[in-house]
């Protein structure tokens, strides 16, 4: 009985110790940051966090970070989606204040942004941006990837996907 309680206590203490050690916030630097169920690229996406919004870092595991969103969603994000630097817009409060959609805000950065692209397009009307827009519409979900790999018997020889 005593041993059982020690195990429970241990399980409770380990994650909180890690959380205390990390205890930081990072900002999403991609259009739609994906919070996944497990630290794997094939894991299902539980929620997305828009560009410029911060998440709480609970712990890190290799290239993955366990995060908690402002809405309380806990899951894993890859480090490449996150930055500690400020991105050119503020977080949730701005969204509420301006009433703009997250997509519009995602395009509101400075420097090489949608304004510049518009200028560039106006000066170079022959460029095939329509084909680029068509490319971007093709999105493969983690579930489709999983089915594709399984049916083709594509699997790592050792270790599995990290």
């Amino acid at each position: 009985m005593m041993r059982k309680w020690l195990v429970v206590l241990g399980l409770l203490l380990v994650p909180s110790a890690v959380a205390l050690a990390v205890n930081a916030r990072m900002i999403v630097q991609v259009q739609r940051g994906q919070i996944r169920a497990t630290p794997s690229y094939l894991a299902s996406v539980l929620a997305t966090v828009p560009y410029g919004v911060s998440v709480e870092i609970l712990q890190t595991k290799g290239e993955w970070m366990q995060v908690k969103s402002l809405q309380g969603q806990v899951g894993w994000m890859h480090k490449s989606a996150l930055t500690t630097k400020a991105v050119p817009m503020s977080s949730g409060s701005t969204t509420a204040k301006t009433g703009a959609t997250s997509d519009e805000l995602a395009l509101a950065g400075k420097g090489f942004n949608s304004d510049i692209e518009r200028e560039f397009k106006a000066k170079n009307k022959n460029l095939n941006f329509a084909a680029v827009d068509r490319m971007e519409r093709i999105k493969i979900s983690p579930a489709e990837m999983q089915v594709f790999l399984q049916t083709g018997a594509v699997k790592p020889l050792e270790g599995g996907v990290q």
Binding site: V30, S80, M89, L127, F148, T151, V161
Partner: protein, 299 residues
């Protein structure tokens, strides 16, 4: 020469702090001691910031816009091959490899298109827009070989090779509006300056991708990174060797595309062989073989 206390402080500060911090401290001291005006201080801060900009200061969002314009420029020279089944198949493999790479999250994600040309060629625009020619697809005899081609291009995006092609000094003008301190609308002059820098940036990357190619070491690095990504997904990296052998047969010396922008296939095979060790034959699974043929039979 009389040494002002503020100069002494600046000297000490330079030894202790990084350059940006010194600029801030220095200009504050200068304004406080009356040696420079507030306007001059702002100007110094701006030029210091301008000098510091390199490809590493480009955010994923800015990289995304650079990549879109590079891809739009390439797709004006090389028309897209709009065959849905083939394009979707290439995206299934390519986007999976993108997710398994060392950089799964780019601002707009990984997306693939086929170029309608016999030329053996492929381009990875910054941020993840990847273009593969019909000629290069014909060098792939199976799904593992196709995965190897796509993994090589994903590696260029992961390692930001495209951004490294931007000429030194190109981003200094743009830097005046690249800062991230406060979001604001650009003035007409700032917009014009930034657009000029943007055009130059697109031109630098386009001419490197299409005309001169990356350095040999950059290509070898992309091959080595591709081997890792292929292994993580479960494709046989021997697919890369298989594809390069087929390319060697098809590539005409001095031809456009890989004939002039990439190291000879044989040199790449030798370098990859060192990483892979003893050859392991590719087992072409029936389902993989079938879907490969179905998607690319008319390529």
């Amino acid at each position: 020469m009389k040494l002002r206390p503020s100069s002494l402080f600046l000297g000490l500060a330079f030894l202790i702090c990084g350059c940006t911090e010194v600029t801030q401290i220095g200009t504050s001291v200068g304004v406080a001691s009356g040696t420079i005006t507030q306007g001059q201080a702002q100007s110094i801060k701006r030029s210091a910031a301008a000098v510091e900009k390199t490809f590493q200061d480009i955010t994923p969002e800015q990289e995304y816009y650079i990549g879109r314009s590079v891809a739009a420029t390439i797709l004006t020279t090389y028309k897209p091959f709009d065959q849905e089944a083939a394009t979707r198949y290439v995206n299934l493999i390519g986007q999976t490899l993108g997710q398994a790479s060392g950089r799964p999250e780019t601002f707009g994600g990984y997306h693939f298109a086929i170029m309608d040309t016999d030329e053996i060629n492929a381009f990875a625009a910054p941020g993840g827009l990847i273009l593969i020619s019909r000629g290069l697809l014909r060098c792939c005899r199976n799904e593992d070989a196709l995965a190897a081609v796509l993994a090589h291009e994903v590696s260029h995006v992961e390692r930001q090779h495209g951004l490294k092609a931007i000429k030194a000094g190109r981003l200094t003008n743009a830097a005046l509006v690249v800062g991230t301190e406060v979001a604001k609308n650009l003035t007409t002059q700032e917009l014009a300056e930034a657009t000029k820098a943007f055009e130059g940036t697109i031109n630098d990357i386009f001419s490197t991708l299409v005309n001169s190619g990356y350095s040999r070491s950059t290509e070898f690095e992309a091959d080595a990174t591709a081997v890792n990504t292929l292994r993580r997904v479960g494709y046989n990296p021997e697919g890369l060797v298989d594809m390069l052998q087929e390319m060697q047969k098809r590539l005409k010396p001095g031809s456009h595309g890989f004939g002039s922008t990439h190291p000879a296939p044989k040199d790449r095979i030798d370098a990859v062989r060192k990483i892979l060790g003893k050859p392991v034959s590719i087992v072409d699974q029936p389902v993989r073989k079938q879907r490969f043929a179905a998607a690319l039979s008319k390529i």
